[in-house]
């Protein structure tokens, strides 16, 4: 049986009447790269701070490799590293001094890998934190998290402030971590990043888990996008089950299809078609379909 790197059961956090996180139950398997999505205020950072034991749950519990986040935080933290969206660091220390300090606190550092990371992220580690740009401060904290090669890495918007080249480097590091069997919990707004890296994705909304699964599993939630070009007259497809948002331009029709394809194919059988393009929704389209139109999927699939 595969070990769970992260497990939450009914995890909730209330601030007075505000439910920042409500009844979150999920499991992240050791060795997987797990994406954590949601709009601002959905409860992503609250979840991460609960996992780290920085805040106390109002109900439920969180475990890291079977260790309770609240009662056994030190043992749990020996196996993880954390990158916040914006790191609080010590302005008078240099990058090198900061990495040395955080390595000592961690207790174990792969020094060769650390030096490689400094080069790969093009960090001038002799500069003081005060003199760094936001992106460079983020590099320091990313290197500090990666250099100890922990079993679990928790990233909260890790690439905020990084340029595209460094974002690419970060993706390489995550891919390497996956190959080594490390677990990655990635909360991000950059959907292409999540799509490129993650094995599974969870989506939060208003403190509730609304969807969890692989991208393939989640794509069924969104409509298939189709463009059909006809040689002659365009048939009436408005009554076909599952077809929506019909638009036509000349002899080309754009539509979205949810559910089985068979009724549409039957409706098209009598027509002469010159081109038919069909594609699955991207994660961004999936995300927008969940939030942009205010739809809330059923929670039936929300427990892994």
């Amino acid at each position: 049986m595969t070990e769970a790197a992260i497990r939450t059961e009914g995890l909730s956090k209330f601030y007075g009447s505000v439910r920042a996180l409500n009844d979150l139950s999920m499991e992240v398997t050791a060795g997987e790269v797990f994406g954590f999505l949601g709009p601002n205020g959905a409860g992503k950072t609250t979840t991460i701070r609960l996992l780290l034991g920085l805040i106390r749950p109002s109900a439920g519990k969180a475990e890291i490799f079977g260790l309770d986040s609240c009662s056994e935080p030190v043992e749990a933290h020996r196996r993880l590293s954390y990158v916040p969206a914006e790191a609080g660091l010590w302005p008078s220390l240099t990058g090198e001094e900061t990495l040395h300090l955080l390595g000592k606190v961690n207790g174990h550092v792969d020094e060769v890998y650390r030096d490689q990371l400094v080069k790969r992220f093009e960090l001038d580690s002799s500069r003081k934190i005060r003199a760094y740009s936001r992106g460079n401060r983020q590099k320091v904290i990313l290197i500090a998290a990666l250099m100890s090669r922990p079993d679990l890495m928790i990233f909260d918007e890790p690439t905020s402030g990084l340029d595209p080249l460094m974002e690419h480097e970060f993706r390489n590091c995550v891919s390497e971590a996956r190959q080594r069997g490390q677990t990655v919990f990635l909360s991000s707004h950059i959907l292409s990043e999540v799509e490129a890296l993650c094995d599974r994705v969870a989506i939060l909304r208003n403190g509730r888990l609304v969807e969890i699964g692989t991208l393939e599993e989640m794509r069924h939630l969104s409509a298939l996008k189709m463009e059909i070009t006809f040689a002659k007259d365009i048939p009436d497809l408005s009554a076909v089950p599952g077809v929506a948002t019909l638009q036509s331009a000349g002899r080309t029709v754009s539509l979205q299809l949810t559910g089985p394809v068979k009724p549409l194919l039957e409706a098209l059988a009598a027509s002469e078609i010159t081109e038919l393009v069909s594609r699955e929704p991207s994660l961004e389209e999936l995300f927008l379909s969940l939030y942009g139109e205010g739809q809330l999927p059923k929670a039936s699939g929300a427990h892994a």
Binding site: R49, L52, G53, L54, I55, R56, P73, V74, E75, H77, R78, L80, S81, Y82, P84, E86, A87, G88, L89, W90, P91, S92, L93, T94, E96, E97, H100, L101, L102, K104, V105, N106, G107, D124, S126, R127, K128, R130, A131
Partner: protein, 528 residues
């Protein structure tokens, strides 16, 4: 922006204005109660009026036989120093502090320039000073109506103005040093040095060594020369306003000429690795504390040696004066050098208590700025982290206590061998007891109400100081007097330290700190 600044600074301005007004009222009204006859008053004036040592330390005392003269002598320096520190902290916070945090950039992205924004903040700060003056003046005028004080409205307003001027000047100093230092801490440190040098120059000028002209080189000297209620010299307002306006002008010009976030005194942006002490959170805390240790160590050593040096002469005159009544109320019974040192160590006790609260304020800042997350997301326990910080703080307080005793002994040894080193070492450790108690209580507050740590800690020190100040001149009953932590320690070396009382204070401090640690371990980490 001026309005926003004014709103930010108004509560503390009014609070300190009221405190300054209470100083005036308590000092004036209690004088009449203690020195009932003209003979008592003449005796006081004869003892301290021409005493060079007290003049150097507290300023000249030209008319101690009058309520007005005594009141000014008694309060002006305390108010000047508190006002100066407040003004410095307020302006560095609203200028360099906002720039540090990035808020300045947001403000400057609006329809304003760096010069305009700085000018607007200075206007808001000026409004804060006016509020402080009004609050002080209201109480001074009201006190002036009492038959004991009997001061007309205009002199009372002038008195309040003289008490507000240091705050006004050091707001200007803070605005200027905010252009010099790259961080608020640096800007405040530069301003602190200006305040310290200003005090030292004034002290030399009043030391009877023929260098009285130096008084005109010191901002605190200008304030001293205002001489409200005794022989007013409004002409001294000219250098005060001129100096402040010059600093304000320079601040506006310099703010316009430098980049946002930059400073005139450039810090080295890179350096070779210095890994000493960077082996864990405690080592880092010690490393970060080094400038604080150096500053407070210098201040405590200087005050200690100075008090020791003047103790012999002051003790001699004290033996012959009715000030013994006041000293006795402060716990320094007896006469002579030890009685003087007994009360003088109170000043050092206040300094140590401010150090104690400062330590907890720094702990809270680590949490608010999310630097603490870096440790707590690693294998570091909350209790271990906080207990480490407290251990460092207690060691620091004990070291400062010992340092004050040694330096006071060195000062005394120049003139006399009347007080031994072990006696003064015991006096030094004695003043650490209330500081440890305040440290523990501040930790308790940090444990369950972290955002209130600074206000409760500094409030407790201020309350204890105010009660001690007012109680010392006979204006309070003993129930209120007993609420002052400084009143709970014996005025060593006037009398020996009260081990029981000191142990109780330390025990309360330790118990409160333990409770604070436990509460901290159970609460949410709260950002700023």
């Amino acid at each position: 922006m001026a309005r926003r600044t004014l709103l930010g600074v108004l509560p503390s301005a009014v609070l300190w204005g009221v405190v300054f007004g209470l100083f005036v009222a308590s000092s004036a009204l209690s004088y009449a109660g203690i020195y009932k006859t003209q003979a008592d008053r003449d005796s006081l004036a004869a003892a301290f009026g021409a005493n060079v040592s007290t003049s150097a330390l507290f300023g000249p005392a030209p008319q101690l036989q009058t309520v007005a003269g005594f009141t000014v002598f008694k309060i002006w320096l305390t108010v000047a120093l508190i006002g100066g520190i407040w003004g410095l902290m307020a302006s560095t916070k609203l200028l360099r502090g906002d720039e540090d945090s990035g808020r300045w950039e947001l403000l400057l992205s609006g329809a304003t320039t760096r010069e305009q924004a700085t000018f607007q903040v200075l206007l808001g700060l000026l409004g804060g000073t006016v509020a402080l003056w009004i609050a002080t003046a209201a109480l001074a005028v009201a006190t002036g109506r009492s038959p004991e004080f009997n001061v007309a409205v205009r002199p009372a307003l002038y008195l309040a103005l003289s008490l507000a001027t240091t705050a006004f000047m050091f707001m200007g100093v803070g605005a200027f040093t905010s252009q010099l230092g790259a961080a608020r801490r640096q800007a405040a440190a530069y301003g602190g040095w200006i305040l310290g040098i200003s005090y030292a120059l004034r002290m030399v000028a009043d030391s009877g060594t023929g260098l009285h002209w130096l008084i005109w080189t010191s901002p605190l000297g200008w304030v001293e020369m205002l001489q409200p209620l005794t022989s007013p010299k409004p002409i001294s307002l000219l250098p005060i306003f001129g100096f402040t306006c010059l600093l304000g002008y320079l601040s506006v010009v310099l703010a316009g000429r430098r980049d946002v976030g930059a400073s005139l005194i450039q810090e080295r942006s890179r350096s070779g690795p210095r890994l000493l002490l960077l082996s864990g959170h405690m080592g880092l805390a010690v490393r970060m504390l080094r400038p604080v240790i150096a500053s407070w160590g210098t201040a405590v050593a200087a005050v200690g040696v100075l008090l020791g040096y003047i103790a012999y002469a002051a003790g001699e005159t004290l033996s012959k004066s009715s000030m013994q009544t006041i000293y006795a109320r402060l716990g320094a019974s007896g006469a002579g050098i030890k009685a003087f040192l007994g009360v003088s160590f109170l000043m050092l006790a206040v300094m140590l208590s401010f150090v104690a609260v400062g330590q907890l304020t720094a702990v809270r800042a680590e949490e608010a700025d999310q630097r603490l997350d870096q440790f707590l997301a690693r294998p570091v326990t909350r209790i271990g982290w906080l207990a480490g910080r407290l251990a460092i703080a207690v060691s620091f307080l004990a070291a400062l206590g010992i340092l004050s005793g040694v330096m006071a002994w060195l000062g005394v040894a120049i003139e006399s061998s009347a007080v031994s080193l072990p006696t003064l070492l015991a006096a030094g450790l004695n003043i650490a007891a209330p500081a440890v108690c305040i440290l523990g209580i501040s930790t308790l507050v940090f444990g369950f109400l972290p955002r209130a740590t600074a206000i409760v800690g500094y409030g407790l020190v201020s309350w204890s100081l105010l009660v001690e100040f007012v109680g010392g001149i006979g204006a309070l009953n003993h129930w209120i007097f007993d609420t002052s932590l400084f009143h709970q320690m014996n005025a060593a070396p006037a009398i020996g330290p009260n081990i029981t009382s000191d142990s109780w204070m330390a025990a309360i401090g330790v118990a409160a700190a333990l409770a604070g640690c436990i509460l901290f371990a159970r609460r949410d980490i709260q950002g700023g």
